[in-house]
Amino acid sequence: MNENILIQLSILNIILPLFGFVLLIFFGKRLPKSHLFEISTIFVGLVSSSIVSFFKLNYFEDKLIVFDFRWIDFGNVPFFGNLGINIGIQLDNVSVIMQLTVFIVSFVVHLFSIKYMEGDPRYSRYFAYLGLFTFSMLGIVLTHNFLMMYIFWELVGLSSYLLIGFWFEKKSASDAAKKAFIVNRIGDVGFFLGILILYANYHTFTFSEIFGQIAQGNLPFNSGAWLTAAGILIFCGAIGKSAQFPLHVWLPDAMEGPTPVSALIHAATMVAAGVYLVARIFVMLTADAMLVIASIGAITAFISATIAITQTDIKRVLAYSTVSQLGYMIMSLGVGSYFFAFLHLITHAFFKAGLFLGSGSVIHAMHHEQDIRFMGGLRKKLPITYYTFLIYTLAIAGIPFTSGFLSKDGILGGTLAFAKLTGYWFFPVVGFFVAMLTAFYMFRLVILTFHGEARDIHKFEHAHESPATMLIPLISLAVLSVFIFFSPNPFNIEAGWFYKWIETPKTIVPQELAFSFMINESNTSHNIIHSELYTETLHHSHSTAMILSLIMAGLGILFAFVIYQWRLISADKLSIKLQPLYNFSYNKWYFDELYSKTAVAFTLGLSNFLAWFDQKVIDGIVNGTATITRWTSFSSGKFDNRVVDGLVNWTAYVTGFFGMVFRKFQTGKVQTYLVMVLTGIIILFFIFKSL
């Protein structure tokens, strides 16, 4: 097993889902059971990516395996020499783990969809799109350059568009698809501009080459401000894809897509891409850029958690919880704890996929009822769904012995250490508060859905446990949400292999632009990239964070039980008492209304105005010119007719007049003529006589 084989397998992994997509698009309707073919490509990919991960992580642990080729050649560019664009893939520990995660989640989602989507008229198309989605995400994960990242980034946008709008007959679905694509594009424009800054300076897209240049002190346009700008602009892409404030509005609407799609989008493919991107550019982030990123992450986590506590649609609660968890990851990257952000990305991928598939199972059982106010008591009807769902909920709430505990605790510890070193206490405060909210709304969801009495008896009667193809994914994801897969010690991730593999990369920005704790002067041992002070502070914060986060999670769970299980406090009364706050939260802080009244209305108004302007003013000038020309020609025609031609006619008239006069003399009578001759002679006589 050498490097080349790993590369070839990875390329195969990327192409396999695409192949499935192409096959299903063209022959999906003609081939019987064509979806099985697509699923098998994903399965092959799963196996092969496991092989790749295994060998990469065990035998080429510290090696960056790169494959690239010249995609576009600019030839001998004047003043620059030979330029071109290389594309390719790179295998490092991060990318192989992410690749495996994508395949795992994608495979379980495929498996789950077999039954869930049964009977849909566009069954094969659905699987085709899933394949395209997986393909796009793999491109993002494995690429070694910004251009390809952007390309697949947009392809993810396309696949999400197709899948969110899969039931395009519904206006809400096609609206949501459109919204998702356009909102993502806003972020993408920023991402693209960020790439442009880098390309304009380094004439390459490849990560390693760009980072190499920056590491040599070769800053974009020789200024640290531009480096910060590049970092923030590229981060804009992540704001869009990972649904960060202020572009988070598309994600809850994206629930219009089929539920397994939500699982895919929210867990491993789309939203993860943003976090992954920030992780990729982590090394070139300046202190200012990191602060911006951390703030955006914290604000997002807070806003969406506050919204999630009042939502009644099971998928929307989960959607806002995703936004909130993504905010955590982004914040974590912003405060410099790269490792925990990535860990949370992976652990979250599994338990969030599980949550969505679990909700899919519930929705399937309830015949497409999504409102939790009409559920309740489903624990008896759907035992397996319930217990797996509970495991995921514990994980997302950060309860020990789950994977979520390890990662969330790490993130909170990271913010605490950051605050201690830099004085930004905002981040840990928000972090812990959100941890409580998370525990609260997740248990609220569990209690309202599975506990208590059935509120809609009719639907409850007909509810039934999902078939095996839907339960196997749920169980396997639940298993993956247990600590053991990440670390043998449920309270310390540093004991695990994950910690060994994922190494926080060393920042390359010049010292004066970076946080001082990010720079390790001594450069002694593995995985100690940060300064020793930071490492020490992190260790100290770790136990504090663990205790604090447990307290917060416990509080959240307690509140949930007090209000919804034991009903010691009435939820309705509470909501009436806090009416303005409740409404504010229930209406999602009025973001949609704000945007549609401002940005959307402005754009549409401007476009209508310009269309009017174009037709009336610009074209009016053109037509006006034509009219003036016509008028001029008309008047000059009149002049020609009256004056110029008049003169000619007048001459003729005068001639005619004289003709009229003189014709009188011509009588035809010889005698008259003779008289004239005689008269003439007489006149002549007198004339000549006088001479």
Binding site: K669, V670, Q671, L674, L678
Partner: protein, 102 residues
């Protein structure tokens, strides 16, 4: 009172005037022709008179003879024309014969 050159010339002038008058005023083509004859004869008288009183030899008489012959020929042709005109127009009234107008 002797008859001198002036008397002949006066006679000739009267005859000429009468001839012109006839040519210009008569309606009948024959009368017009007669007028022409008068004019010719007035010319003849002039020739003879100058021949007699002048020193020109026989030239005057000879020319007169020519004129008489010409007048005869002319009368013949003119009458033929008048006849043809009559055939064409059924009239010899020169006022009605205005074909030259066309």
């Amino acid at each position: 009172m002797t008859v001198g050159l002036n008397h002949f010339l006066a006679l000739s002038a009267v005859l000429f005037s009468l001839g012109i008058y006839a040519v210009l005023t008569r309606k009948n083509a024959i009368q017009v022709l007669m007028g022409i004859e008068l004019i010719l004869n007035s010319a003849n008288i002039n020739f003879i008179a100058f021949a007699h009183y002048g020193n020109f030899g026989l030239t005057g008489q000879v020319i007169s003879l020519f004129v008489i012959i010409l007048a005869a020929a002319e009368a013949a042709i003119a009458l033929a024309i008048v006849l043809n005109i009559y055939k064409q127009y059924s009239t010899v009234n020169v006022d009605e014969i205005d074909g030259l107008k066309e």
